[in-house]
Structure formats: structure tokens, C-alpha cells
Amino acid sequence: MVKRNPLQATGVQYFSGAEQSALDRQLVATDGVGLPLDPEKRGATLKLLDSILDQLAQYRAQDLTPTQRVSAASMEFLLKDARAAADYADTQFIFDQFRGMQVGLVNGLSQTHPIRNAQDIDNYLERLKQVGGIIDQGIAAAEIQEKKGLLPPKFIIQATLDGLDRFLKDAPAQNVLVVSLAARAEKLPVVPPDRDKSLALAQEIVATSVQPAFQRIKIMLTRQLAKATDDAGLWRLPKGDAAYRLRLHSNTTTDLTPRPDPRPGSKASRQDRSRDGSDPQAAGPC
């Protein structure tokens, strides 16, 4: 599950040589469920997903080893889950304080992207140049959600704004995207000949492209804050109930529903019986 997410590809270094290095120079703007925001790329990604699922279905369990059967079942679960999540992308917001696009980009570059040699630095700078454009795709997508009446809760917007302020408070030379590159380039056993030039370029990109893009997120979220409410329940959103059920399934691999488990012995069942006095276990110690 690597090529569709270049930052993830960088993190796991699944490939090698030129193929890996090409991925290490890319960024893709994705929605809250990890699918590309660009409609063409999104369509191609879903088509690829369907194609892999079709191929997977051709393998008969009896022809696979026990290990392969587990592998096939895991793939099927994850891919079907990703396919189903595509329908609920609007229940995830583009920017939030935990897993928002802006957090992913900063963490991805300052923590995941390796700095092992001059090529890694060049790849880093290439990615840094793309951050502004990626953010703008995210803003456009968030504004489309806003037009549909889909806004994050007020406290999420406020926490996200606080994070943006922390990112923007330092001058470009002290920005984490420059400091992280400088600190790691400093530790290289062989100092790249263009290191200082690279650091100056990183500083310039942060000043002229990255920070202005983060300011644009701030402008949008500040506007949205005035319209947002404190209602945070997923059920308030269109398809919210179905999205909740899907996440319950994704996170537990069960078909449990949001309703209390009525099976005998379940906590909910005991609570119900303790209320009507029919559960002796609920009576407590004598």
C-alpha cells in the first residue's frame, strides 16, 4: 500500500534506487480517508483498488498456504474498507489538529523524510516547493465541504488555529522545516558541497511559499470558526450514521453496531437487568 502515498513510501522505503528516489520527491494532496483530492488521480486510485480486489478474488483459498490465506484475508479487509471509506470522505475534515493535512506535511518532511545524503536534501527541497500547492488543494476541498454545510466543530477549528499559530510564530530561519533539515544535514558524515545553499533555499521556500500557504489556512478557518458550532457528533453529518458504522467495523473488524450489545453476559445486558433487578451479579457484594 505504498505508491499512492509518496510520504508513506518514504517512511517504509519499500522500493530502491531510482524508483524510490522518484517517490521521495513527490507529495500528493489527499482527503481525510487518504484518497487523492485531484479527481483524475482519485478515479485512477479507485480503479486500481477495484482491479486489485478483482485479481485477489481469483485466488481460491484451497490453493493458498495458511500464511497466504491470512495475507489474502488481510488484503481483502483493508482494500474493501478503503473502498467503502471513499463514500464517506466528507465525514473527515481536511484540516484538524491531529491528523490534518498540514500536520501530515510538516511531520512527514521534518520527521519521516530521511536526510542521508545530498540526494535526500535535493528531494526534501523539491517536496518543500510543493507544500504550498498541496495546501491550496486542501483549502479548495475544505471550501467545497463548507459549501455543503460541512464544518469541523468549533473546538477543533480553534485547536487547529492554535497549532497554525505555533507553526507561524518563528521566523523562517527558526521554522521547524528549516531547523530539522539543518540539524540533520549537520550530522551527515560527508558534508554535501551545497549544504549552505540548500539551507538558504529551504528558508526562502518557507518564507515565500509555505508560511503564506499556512496563513491562507488560517484565514479560511478563522472565517469558518464564526459559523461553526460545538456539536461534534458524527451523526450530525450526511451519511454520518453509516460512516460511524464503517469506522466501528474498520477499528474492531467486527460487525457490531453502535447499539448496546444485547447478548447475555454483555455489559449492556447486565446494566439493563440490574436496572430491573433481574441480574443477581449486579447486586454487588453482600
Binding site: M1, L48, Q68, A72
Partner: protein, 45 residues
């Protein structure tokens, strides 16, 4: 109606059998080893 003599029928039957035999392994042959498929799918996706 023209009747085919056994000598003329034999190649036709052989052709049909060959086609039938060939079509099934062909479908199976398209299926790459599972580990290879899984590794490629993991990379592509």
C-alpha cells in the same frame, strides 16, 4: 449433407480437444503466484 470421414474428423476433434484443454490452463496460467501478486499489489496500492 456432407459426412466427414473418420480421417477428416480426427484433426477437427483434436483441434477441439486442444482448444478446450488449452483454454483452462490459459486462464490458470494468467494467475501469477500469490506472493508475487501480493508484493506487487502492496507496492502499487
Amino acid at each position: 449433407m456432407t459426412r466427414l470421414s473418420p480421417s477428416r474428423l480426427a484433426p477437427l476433434v483434436a483441434l477441439i480437444l486442444l482448444g478446450a484443454a488449452g483454454s483452462l490452463p490459459a486462464a490458470a496460467a494468467k494467475l501469477e503466484p500469490f506472493d508475487q501478486f501480493a508484493e506487487k499489489a502492496a507496492g502499487d496500492w
